[in-house]
Symmetry: C2
Subunit: 140 residues, 2 copies
Amino acid sequence: MYNKILVPTDGSEGSKIALEHAKGLAEKYSSEIHLLYVADVRTHNTGEIIPNLVAELEKIGEESIESMKESLEGVEGIKDSVIKGIPHREINDYADEKDIDLIVMGTHGRTGLDRILLGSVTEKVVRTSNVPVMTVGRED
Amino acid sequence: MYNKILVPTDGSEGSKIALEHAKGLAEKYSSEIHLLYVADVRTHNTGEIIPNLVAELEKIGEESIESMKESLEGVEGIKDSVIKGIPHREINDYADEKDIDLIVMGTHGRTGLDRILLGSVTEKVVRTSNVPVMTVGRED
C-alpha cells in the first residue's frame, strides 16, 4: 500500500518527528524512504533570487539529510535528493515523478506561534497533493 | 504504533476513500477503527441552531456510519459515534479522550472547486490536532 514514502525535510525538529513515523511505516510495509530537501529559491520578502543564500540552504539540506539517514539505520532503500525550487511545487512534482504513495511531513509544532501556524509548506502540500499526506507535529 | 485510528465522516465520497486507507492500516497494525460523525450544530450562514436540521444531519450520520461499517467487514474492534457539536472541536476532543493514535480524513477532492479547497473541517483538524493526521483525497 505504501511502497514509497516521501519525507520532505526543512531541517527542523518537526521533520525529525515525521521521520519517526515514516520509519515505523517503512518497517511495516517494507517501503522505500525518499528524503527530499528543497532549497527555496525565493527570498521570502522580495521574491529575488540570492545565489549565496540558496547555496547555504543546500548545505543545510545536505546536513539535514545526512542526520536523517543516520536515524534510518535498518531501513532498506533510502533515496535522497537536495534540489532547488519552490518547496511545495518540487515536493508535488517529486511525488508524481517517483510514484510516491504517501508523504509524511512535520508541522513544526513546538513553540507558541508554531503551534497555531501550520508550516506553510506543509499546508500547501496538504492542499495540493495527489497522494495521501500524513502531518505530524503537535504530539509528544 | 497506530492502535486506534479515528475516521471522521461527513458522509461524502472523500470519507470513503479515507476509510480505505484506515482499513489498510488497521489490518496491518491490528488497530481499532473509530467512526465519528459530528452533526454540526451551527448553520453556516447565521450561527443559529436549527433543531430539525441537526436531527436530519444525525440521520445522515447514522446512515453514513452504517454504510462504512459494511465496508469494514473483517476489521475487529469498530467503534462508532454520532454526536452533535462543532466538528473539528469534537474530533479533537474525541481523539484526546479516546487516546487516538492517528486520524484519517478525506479532503473531499473530486470536482473542480473541491480539488482546490481542502475541506474546511479537515483543514482545521490538521492545524489543531495533537495526533498525526492523514489526509486523503485527490488521488484516483
